[in-house]
Symmetry: C2
Subunit: 387 residues, 2 copies
């Protein structure tokens, strides 16, 4: 971590680990530079999507063959949602919550548009999801941990309700995998997708992973039918025959550099163990809430995250009318959080590398910024791209 920086944005982009840095050097200098085309077999590049997927599986309660890594989160969502929709013909509703991450909603609209049957995208409030599931529901598409507030769905309850009505559930675990324990198997979950560059630290633009329960594999089909999803890609057959299992979710040539980086960085998360990480995450978040509420009372902050850790992911969000400027001013104090419109200041506590002293100091700096009013400086309210 750079000197003096308190990084509370690992939920947007995880930091570089030594393992990822070293692995990238080896892949670039040796595997690509020296091994050239032969590394597809010699360095086993060809199996990277499945190998990395298998490693993710251990973090989310899945079997290794149920997970594969492939394209961006948005594209992976498209493939899974189209596949889920195709598994429930005759049902005319895709259900999501109105506060879902925008890309999830845009992709759901597209899947609805390309459906051969008329299909409606129905958006309801998060607390009305379970009662909105009915016999017309094909797929419920939800983000497990809300990107704004960190509020967590009860995965087991939603899945059970959906299954009782004959619907499937697709979980976006972008803010869950590596952040809190998830047990897809125990929840009898159907499908899931997650980001590789947040809590898994795979690097900027790292590929996402896709999960589908083994029981669904025989009937999977998705429209991005590229050669890497073919059962025999190197026979260059003129007819598409999907590979068995999750390999059919692949499309083009896998991004070897990014997958290698993700592969290496995952080891740190796996080694730490999700239960230990969760224990620390809860303690970090609780300390931050306590300190901020004690030190910043009367400064216009309101907790936007659930107060009870059971309902909260690994982030803490506070509302503030001028949250954008406050986050920008904090940045000048080397405390890196981020902002989500209209008024959410978001602080991610990645338990793998965030220290308790960082949490304490971050709360102190936030109090200083608010008390001193430095955030009122006009230069902090100029909008730029804050990811």
């Amino acid at each position: 971590m750079p000197d003096g920086v308190i990084y509370l944005d690992g939920n947007s982009l995880g930091p570089l680990s030594r393992a990822a840095r070293d692995r990238l050097r080896e892949v670039v200098d040796s595997e690509w530079g020296q091994g050239l085309i032969g590394s597809w077999t010699e360095a086993n590049w060809i199996n990277l999507p499945a190998r990395v997927g298998g490693k993710v599986a251990g973090l989310i309660g899945a079997e290794p063959q149920e997970v594969i890594t492939c394209d961006s989160t948005s594209i992976t969502l498209f493939k899974l949602l189209a596949a889920a929709r195709a598994l429930r013909p005759g049902r005319r509703v895709l259900l999501t919550d109105a506060g879902n991450f925008p890309t999830d909603t845009y992709i759901a609209e597209s899947v609805a548009d390309i459906s051969p049957e008329a299909i409606e995208l129905r958006q309801v409030r998060a607390d009305a999801i379970i009662e909105a599931i009915d016999d017309e529901t094909a797929v419920v598409s939800l983000t497990h941990v809300n990107y704004r507030t960190g509020a967590v769905y009860d995965m087991a309850a939603v899945t059970k309700s959906a299954h009782a009505r004959g619907a499937l559930v697709l979980w976006d675990l972008s803010h869950s995998a590596g952040a809190l324990p998830v047990d897809l198997g125990a929840c009898d979950a159907d499908m899931a997708v997650g980001c590789g560059y947040k809590y898994l630290n795979g690097g900027p633009g790292a590929p996402a992973w896709a999960f589908a329960a083994s029981r669904l594999h025989p009937n999977l089909a998705q429209p991005l039918t590229g050669w890497m999803g073919h059962q025999a890609p190197f026979e260059f057959s003129g007819r598409y025959e999907p590979a068995a299992g999750m390999r059919q979710m692949l499309t083009g040539t896998p991004p070897v550099l990014a997958l290698s980086s993700l592969d290496a960085s995952l080891d740190d998360v796996v080694d730490a163990g999700m239960d230990r990480l969760r224990t620390k995450s809860v303690a970090l978040c609780e300390l931050f809430i306590r300190q901020v509420e004690a030190r910043c009372a009367g400064q216009g902050l309101a907790l936007a995250s659930p107060r009870d850790a059971v309902h909260r992911g690994s982030q803490v969000s506070f509302r503030h009318e001028d949250g954008f400027a406050v986050i920008r001013a904090l940045l000048e104090s080397k405390v890196i959080g981020d902002f989500r419109a209209p008024d959410i200041m978001r602080f991610g506590f990645a338990p793998l590398y965030t220290r308790f002293v960082d949490v304490w100091d971050a709360a102190e700096k936030l109090a200083e910024v608010l008390e001193s009013g430095t955030w009122r400086d006009p230069r902090f309210s100029v909008r730029g791209a804050v990811t």
Copy 2:
């Protein structure tokens, strides 16, 4: 290049350049490692897709704003073909040649499947394409340089015929960009896609680029509507509003490591200049054909590539009944070519780094392998993944 290796497979995976290696170190150690999330703006990661696209544009006769880099070739093809199809409603044929690269055909089938109107994928022989274009043709989807034989389409003639019938043409330039001069502007081309890891040397699994003529931009629409294709991605709006121009072809978060590598490696190609590269490429290919035909006469080889350089890309293919075993035996002599079923031995001559002495030596080694019969050793006929 590794010691003693004669690398004639740059049409499958281009080698590592010093520029790409150095750039990757900087991106990993400094931009990601030190700059963290701030590098999206500070290091201008957010504009990498357009910046790299603009660099590719100079190699293919396009305007900078007509090209963007994004996802794998297969996925990029899907987006462009779906967009092209939507520009010609009421026309019920996607036309391609029966020898197109498999992924191009699979993707065309998928685009046909998701079309709201009935649409037929019609496959004809390469020499029958122009006469097969009729008033029912929505899009003609062709690979400019055939991946097996290196045969080149007359881009201007096909485009002109298609336009005369009101159809669009989508060119796959995976074996063209960086290999021979292409002038999309002069041909009045509609759309094109190309691979980043072949002649452009972007690294294993590097992203592809997408081209659409400016005149088509106002009416483009594609189904992979992720947040990065939104006109204001960081407003997190619930409604998808496509960005202007090629940015709407983006979907998820761009793969920064791979794009940076491609960005750096492109400079070598741009600096060399496509006309000079073509002159050398033709000379390399002609030397190889002459030497192989002189030294390997009577050994069962038949030229599979066009003899006239005007009709040939930057590769030379020979048919041989046991081509697979011959290529494997050659590999042991450190001459790296590749094999495409059923009988094509493929040798790529990337003019940027292939030397005339390499060509001469490769022909000698091929003659040795064929004369000595070493390729008859059973271990050379065991099939594995040869990409």
